[in-house]
């Protein structure tokens, strides 16, 4: 159980590496904590190591059991029933079912109760299954184990749910904390531990926590035996960044702050173990208090469907009113003379003396009778369809990620169709667009850039130019004119060469050959993690042969020495792994190792490098004494180390942002400045994060003088300390000699640029919301092509005002400044709009805070919506959620939020659709999300293919559903005109029951699950198809009303035809006349035929399943009729032998069916034919193209239309290529043909021509 080794093995105190932080004076709270403890809000008492004291009141706190389930065994039935009957339609059917038990109903009870039970049962079953999954997740979390002290210094493993307040737990490296803990001690001597809080706030950097001095000694299992203390602290609250409390230990009181508190769901990193006391458990912990109940979302279509249901309800009420009024009028007038009815006042429905009462009773009965207008099974069918759609989405192999072995999961299936309507995507950066992995990509040393030059944009631009040119030339050949035009545009390759002025032609060719044609291949995987660099000039020690090897060495030494990392052992003997504060440093260390300068050991004051020696070619181990480390901060934007070499030389190595470094260069250190800055520009355009490297040698005397100043500054206590340190560092970080720059790629996830490109073409806007700093955000903006160099960037940032006393005044001033910024930008847009200049808006968190205030927000959002891309940096999780909400409300369009961390939970829940990235560790985002993707790139297929399909499917399905219920329901109404509105039903009760459940359900489900207007590849090829969903044209009121009218017409045709065909004369050769049963059965047959043939007209994609379901349903009706008719008459009532004896034998029955089906479908058929002729929709035309195989025969047109269908967009890779091509063409026209001629004669040109790239 004991692990003494951890302490001895690793002596380095990380805390000591930070020059500034360890001298930081303790926080001074304005209000002493002592005064607040015990008061309201600060009443919690924890008896450390005495959990038994917490078993009874008043110190009994909740257990550590956390439950996220909605129901439990007892509450499931009542609560889920309640949920079900909150739907208006279900409530209506419940009432109808209750009424059916009374004499009010026109039907027998089962015909109403069976469908209701069926419908509600399925929905409840779905709820139960979903909740069961949540329960299993909880079970897994609650049964995680942690080592807990049970007395006498013995620790045993306990399940999380058994941990109680006051317990002492020992958490090992990489374990999660079971509750909110007070840190007592850690494996480090100074009681520091490192915590990853990604699950809480999404930040990936480690946070240091530190115990109070008094408990430092409690660092072994045995010492816990005698530890007794009590903690007085604040009550449970959701605030992650504050904690107040006191530790009473050995009669002394120690103030506690957030620095001592380890929060549940965060993880112990880089520390072997820690001891802690549990302060908050289960529902009291800050994470649980922070977690919101995920709101249940409903899609746009479903919300609209509710309104459609209301329309149908109004129709229902209208026709019920007509029925009841007419009935009442008849009852009180002529019906009294219908002696055969023997009207009596006892019969409330037909009470001649109380017509009003009769009217009311009839009204209620009519409401039930015409209930078929309200599609009872619509909800359940939609639910079934959506679950099946979700199964198809989950099983899509093309959305399966081999790397993480995960596929897309639709976690809530009720938003499938919403995927087809998204207009704005709000995306997180880290972990969503990027892998959170830094790669060393390029470097510029001593004015020469290494690691390839041409980026994929240039490559694609040259290809585009080439193909344009071929097309142009052929057109010129045809017209046989414009010979001079050829000259102007026939030399894309050489011009690209010219554009890359610093690249020689051979290198250019070489890099072309290196790169593959596909963009994705440029992002190829390298064998070494964090290192994606290919340049033979530097690899394998080749650099040692260059003349400026000194600068090269210094460059690599900056990488190897100027950092806070430590090496860790790896299995492979010669290569080490590294751990550092930031992933960039790790990338630099790995790169240095690859170049032959390996950082292999670090002690408190000495760093050891294994260097490749130039002369001997062997590896030498050199020690560098670490004199000072000037740490990185966001305001300094640089970091330096001062080391002394083995031969006593003192060097300062510095790395930092280029602007910062460039202004600190010595006069003789600027020799590479020009070249380097041009390289930096290229790197920035590619979205790389570039750092400039510089060094200087310091005279010993100068150093000693400075050191004393610096030490004095460090030890100063008080507000002036920071200033002193700043000026001290300014003193030494000057007169630098520039070495070059290194470009780090914040590695994008696979396929992200292509995905963004496609999404942009489909008309989606992408906003980037990140907690990262502005520079990083902009880098990524470039890397994903959300930004490009020729875009007008608007930076919205709040002006920091210094020392303005009154806070409200300061805010007011900031707001004023912001408003003026926004106004000037808006004006700028109006001016620039004429020039078709794209804009990007970059906002930082502070500015956002002000911009989102109520009075400015409209202005801000108007500006933001105008811009091609919006990047928000330094935004808090709360702001992310706020932006999402405001965008959603302001634009009224469908928003999709995608993120991976707990900090994205807010926006994921707020957006219309929340998508979580599931490849990562933290599950919070996934838990809160509606869909989870292993990779960002699957978003494209999810939206453009599945979203489009699901949208069309659900729209068609709902419209058809409305239609079929109207067809059926209205025939009942029309019949009332012939029964003196008495409420007689035309059909047998069981026909009514079978209609929705048995005879029409399967075809509509097959429509909802399998319909495809166009195949998936066409969805990809024609992004414009997606806009059908964005504009919501498939479920517009126009369509809804048309379908309602279509239903009314069809039912009228059915009804009138059947009653006239079966009017008084005999319908069979035997002279028999039709009674209610015959008329009902024949009409019903016509309804079944009509609605099922109608769906066959709606469906455009028939697999055997659709055929089976549609024709099977019709067949099933006859089978049903046979089976029902074969039952004894006590069961089958009027259906007895109806088909075999009566109507089946009469030819008129079959002839009527044929007539009615054709006549009732004719209006729709003609309408469709006309629509397709005069106003075909995009999918119709594309279907026709496919049908005529135009995509094969007229490939050029097919490709041209694909291009045209893309929405003109300013973001995305293609847009960048377009811009570049445009730019190149302009440049060419200016530069004339002279270069071209010389170039075409050169052998390179000929090689290029023959290379596969330009075929």
């Amino acid at each position: 159980m004991r692990e003494p080794s951890g302490r001895t093995k690793r002596k380095i105190r990380w805390s000591k590496l930070y020059t500034f932080s360890c001298f930081r004076p303790p926080n001074t709270d304005p209000v002493p904590i002592e005064n607040r403890i015990g008061r309201p809000g600060f009443s919690r008492v924890v008896f450390c190591n005495n959990p038994h004291l917490h078993r009874m009141k008043p110190h009994k706190y909740p257990t550590n059991y956390v439950s996220t389930t909605k129901y439990n065994v007892v509450t499931f039935l009542p609560r889920s029933l309640f949920e079900q009957f909150r739907r208006v339609a279900n409530l209506y059917f419940l009432l109808a079912a209750v009424l059916s038990l009374t004499s009010l109903a026109p039907f027998t009870p089962p015909s109403l109760i069976v469908p209701l039970v069926f419908v509600v049962g399925i929905s409840m079953l779905k709820e139960a299954v979903e909740d069961w999954h949540r329960f299993l997740q909880d079970l897994e979390v609650n049964s995680r184990v942690v080592k807990t002290h049970i007395g006498d210094g013995v620790f045993v493993e306990k399940a999380w749910q058994q941990v109680s307040v006051g317990d002492i737990v020992k958490v090992q490296k990489d374990q999660y904390f079971p509750g909110d803990l007070l840190l007592l001690s850690s494996s480090y001597e100074d009681g520091v531990c490192y915590v990853e809080t990604m699950n809480l706030d999404g930040e990936t950097n480690l946070k240091a926590k530190r115990c109070v001095e008094a408990t430092l000694g409690l660092n072994e299992d045995a010492t816990m035996n005698r530890f007794e203390a009590s903690i007085y602290c604040e009550d449970p609250n959701p605030n992650l960044y504050s904690f107040m409390g006191n530790l009473e230990f050995e009669n002394e009181s120690h103030p506690l702050s957030t620095a001592q508190v380890l929060l549940r769901d965060s993880k112990l990193r880089n520390t072997e173990y820690i001891y802690g006391v549990v302060i908050f458990t289960g529902p009291d912990t800050k994470t649980v208090r922070n977690s919101m109940k995920s709101p249940s979302k409903r899609s746009r279509i479903e919300r609209k469907m509710d309104r459609v249901i209301y329309v149908l309800f109004s129709m229902l009420i209208l026709i019920s009113l007509v029925t009841s009024m007419a009935s009442a009028v008849l009852v009180s007038s002529q019906m009294t003379s219908w002696w055969y009815l023997r009207l009596q006042d006892k019969d409330l429905f037909f009470s001649p003396s109380k017509p009003v009462l009769s009217a009311i009773m009839q009204f209620i009965r009519a409401l039930v009778l015409y209930g078929y207008l309200i599609p009872i099974s619509l909800y359940v069918s939609i639910e079934v369809v959506k679950v099946l759609q979700a199964v198809l989405i989950n099983n899509d192999i093309q959305m399966f990620d081999e790397a993480t072995c995960q596929s897309v999961r639709a976690r809530t299936s009720n938003l499938n169709e919403e995927l087809g309507q998204v207009s704005i995507i709000l995306s997180d950066k880290t972990g969503t667009l990027t892998c959170n992995q830094m790669e060393f990509r390029k470097c510029s040393i001593a004015g020469v850039s290494y690691g390839g030059d041409l980026n994929e944009v240039d490559l694609a631009a040259s290809r585009r130019m080439n193909s344009d040119m071929v097309a142009y030339r052929s057109s010129v050949d045809e017209s046989d004119a414009m010979s001079q035009g050829i000259e102007i545009c026939e030399f894309p390759e050489d011009d690209i060469g010219n554009q890359m002025g610093y690249v020689g032609a051979p290198e250019y060719l070489e890099s072309l050959n290196l790169k593959n044609q596909k963009i994705s291949d440029v992002h190829r995987e390298s064998s070494i993690k964090g290192f994606n660099f290919q340049d033979d000039r530097l690899m394998d020690g080749q650099w040692t042969r260059y003349s400026n090897v000194y600068h090269m060495t210094m460059f690599f030494k900056v990488m190897a020495l100027c950092h806070t990392g430590i090496p860790i052992e790896d299995d492979r003997a010669d290569k080490l792994k590294f751990e550092a504060e930031s992933p960039e440093e790790v990338a630099f260390l790995i790169a240095a190792q690859e170049f032959g300068i390996q950082f292999c050991k670090r002690t408190q004051s000495v760093m050891v490098l294994k260097e490749l020696d130039r002369d001997s070619g062997s590896v030498l181990e050199r020690e560098y004494k670490l004199l000072n480390l000037l740490e990185f901060s966001s305001s300094r934007k640089r970091m330096s180390v001062i080391v002394s070499t083995q031969d006593g030389q003192i060097i300062l190595l510095c790395k930092g942002a280029d602007s910062i470094i460039f202004e600190r260069l010595a006069d003789d250190g600027k020799s590479y400045e020009e070249a380097t800055s041009s390289h930096l520009l290229c790197y920035a355009e590619d979205g790389f994060r570039a750092l400039a490297f510089a060094y200087r040698t310091i005279e010993r005397a100068e150093y000693e003088h400075w050191d004393s100043v610096f030490t004095k500054a460090k030890t100063t206590v008080g507000p002036e300390r920071d200033e002193l340190l700043e000026s001290a560092s300014e003193m030494i970080e000057k007169d630098l000699i520039l070495l070059g720059a290194a470009a780090i790629e914040d590695k994008l996830q696979k396929g992200v640029p292509e995905c963004i490109d496609k999404l942009a073409q489909a008309g989606l806007k992408i906003w980037l919301l990140t907690g990262d700093k502005k520079e990083t955000a902009i880098n990524i903006g470039f890397a994903c092509s959300l930004l490009r160099q020729d875009m007008a960037q608007f930076h919205l940032s709040s002006v920091k005002d210094s020392g303005c006393g009154n806070q409200s005044e300061a805010i007011l001033a900031a707001k004023k400044a912001l408003v003026s910024q926004i106004e000037s930008f808006s004006q700028g847009i109006q001016v620039e709009n004429k020039k078709h200049m794209p804009f990007a808006l970059v906002v930082d968190g502070q500015a956002l805070e002000i911009a989102l205030r109520s009075d400015v927000k409209d202005q801000f959002l108007r500006l933001a919506v105008e811009c091609s891309s919006v990047i928000c940096c330094r935004v808090s999780p709360k702001q992310k959620a706020l932006i999402t909400r405001l965008v959603k409300e302001f634009t009224g369009k469908t928003t999709l939020a995608i993120g991976d961390g707990a900090n994205d939970v807010g926006m994921i829940q707020e957006a219309d659709i929340g998508v979580g990235i599931s490849g990562m560790e933290g599950m919070q985002a996934v838990m809160a999300s509606d869909f989870s993707l292993p990779q960002f790139r699957f978003l494209e297929r999810l939206l453009i293919v599945h979203g489009h399909w699901c949208y069309k499917r659900i729209s068609k399905m709902i419209l058809y559903f409305i239609y079929k219920n109207i067809v059926f329901g209205l025939t009942l109404f029309y019949y009332e005109f012939y029964t003196s509105f008495s409420g007689q039903v035309l059909y047998d009760d069981w026909y009514m029951t079978a209609f929705n459940v048995l005879l029409t359900s399967l075809p509509v489900i097959s429509l909802g699950v399998l319909e495809q207007d166009v195949p998936s590849d066409v969805c990809h090829q024609f992004p414009a198809l997606y806009q059908q969903g964005q504009r919501g044209i498939c479920f517009s009121w126009k369509r809804i009303i048309s379908w309602i009218i279509n239903g009314a017409i069809a039912s009228l045709i059915i009804f009138l035809s059947t009653i006239h065909a079966l009017s008084s004369a005999a319908f069979s050769e035997k002279g028999n006349v039709a009674d209610i049963a015959h008329l009902g059965t024949i009409t019903y047959t016509c309804v079944i035929w009509t609605v099922n043939c109608q769906i066959a007209l709606v469906i455009s994609h028939f697999t055997w399943i659709q055929h089976l379901f549609i024709w099977g349903s019709i067949l099933l009706w006859y089978i049903f009729l046979l089976a029902y008719g074969a039952l004894p008459p006590s069961y089958s009532n009027t259906g007895f032998h109806v088909l075999t004896e009566a109507i089946g034998r009469a030819p008129s029955f079959w002839i009527i069916t044929l007539l009615v089906v054709v006549a009732s479908l004719l209006p729709y058929f003609v309408y469709m034919a006309l629509q397709r002729t005069f106003y075909p929709m995009d999918d119709h035309v594309i279907q026709e193209m496919k049908h005529c195989k135009k995509d094969v025969f007229d490939k050029q047109m097919w490709l041209r239309e694909q291009r045209n269908s893309k929405r003109t967009t300013q973001v995305g890779f293609s847009a960048r290529v377009d811009a570049k091509t445009h730019h190149l063409k302009e440049a060419m026209q200016q530069s004339g043909a002279s270069i071209y001629r010389s170039f075409t004669n050169s052998p390179i040109y000929k090689t290029l021509r023959s290379s596969p790239l330009f075929q």
Binding site: W339, C405, K577, I1105
Partner: protein, 355 residues
């Protein structure tokens, strides 16, 4: 930096990384099947002009012959319809028809003479036709007890039969209910040139009714014994399944104007022959303004005389042919090539596409 793969092994547990058990299911690569990948072979019919025109012509071509055949069949049926309710009121009762019909002592006999327009081949079906009689009224339809009709032991099951459920002494009425109570009771006697014309009243009801719905052991009981007499009385010594007039009547008609089979004349009637009908005009339709017709009709394969089907078929067929011609004209005058890209939304409305 620590790699993600090698992170936490949770305490002493088996060290699995899965955040929750169901994740194990996810990690499996979805199995390929054409169904799950939505790649099932499918036919994708689209409404091309060719299809539209073909379908319309096809419908026209099929419908018009059917329509003609139906119309022909209907025309071949010979039907004699005679309304007698008004004429069978003696002139002295012209203004008080109700009084006439409700008075037990008046002579209800009425002689009608019908001329056979064309040769009527046997069987000739005899119907009575009532108008404005709502046999389909809910109160009326429900007023019966199928159980009681079926078997003797359910004699007392008269739940829905109010107000004709029980006789005065709480004895159940068989058959109970308003339908039976209001049984039609006009009778017809036919003769041709003073030769009585036999009317076969057997097998005028559906076999299923006689064999399964009306019991052979159920005899009328307490029927029409009440204060109010509705319609016909039944011979209480004949079981219900042989009371075919009742069985026919109990099949409630769907519409307020309906015919019911009265019997069959099983001899041919020559054209021009005059049929004398002696009607006992008992049934009261004067109260509610209903009409009574006597109908003699032959049948064709389609049933009785009804031009609707034929006309409707001809109309639909004609409309389809007309539409086919119209569409042909449209495609000739304003052809739209299939898959013409100029109809794509981005080509039709490039301006709207920009933003």
């Amino acid at each position: 930096m620590v790699e993600r793969g090698e992170t936490s092994s949770t305490g002493g547990s088996d060290g699995t990384q899965d955040p929750f058990p169901s994740a194990k299911k996810i990690t499996k690569r979805p199995k390929y099947s054409r169904f799950t990948q939505q790649e099932l072979p499918a036919c994708k019919p689209i409404l091309t002009p060719g299809w539209v025109i073909t379908a319309l012509i096809l419908v026209g071509v099929i419908f018009i012959p059917i329509g003609l055949a139906s119309l022909f069949a209907s025309q071949r049926v010979v039907e004699i319809v005679d309304r007698y309710d008004e004429d069978c009121i003696p002139p002295s009762f012209k203004d008080r028809a109700l009084g006439f019909i409700q008075d037990d002592n008046t002579d209800k006999t009425c002689i009608r003479k019908l001329t056979v327009p064309k040769l009527m081949k046997s069987p000739i079906y005899v119907y009575y036709q009532l108008s404005n009689f709502y046999q389909n009224h809910r109160r009326y339809v429900k007023s019966r007890s199928d159980k009681q009709l079926r078997s003797r032991k359910d004699e007392s099951k008269t739940t829905n039969c109010e107000p004709e459920a029980f006789a005065g002494d709480k004895q159940p009425i068989v058959p109970c209910g308003l339908i039976a109570w209001s049984l039609f009771n006009d009778t017809y006697k036919f003769s041709v040139t003073n030769q009585p014309l036999a009317v076969n009243k057997r097998n005028i009801a559906w076999d299923s009714d006689r064999e399964h719905k009306f019991g052979s052991d159920v005899y009328p009981k307490n029927f029409q014994n009440g204060r109010l007499i509705g319609g016909a009385k039944l011979n209480s010594s004949i079981p219900l399944n042989e009371q075919e007039d009742l069985i026919v009547w109990m099949r409630t008609a769907a519409l307020p104007t309906f015919r019911k089979l009265y019997g069959r004349i099983e001899v041919d009637l020559e054209a021009g022959k005059e049929i004398t009908v002696m009607i006992q005009n008992n049934y009261n339709t004067y109260d509610f303004g209903g009409k009574k017709h006597l109908v003699l009709s032959t049948t064709s394969w389609l049933g009785g005389k009804n031009d609707f089907l034929g006309a409707a078929y001809l109309a639909v067929g004609g409309i389809c042919l007309f539409l086919a011609v119209a569409f042909i004209l449209v495609y000739v005058l304003k052809p739209r090539p299939l898959g013409d890209p100029s109809y794509l939304s981005w080509n039709r409305n490039p301006a709207g596409h920009l933003n």
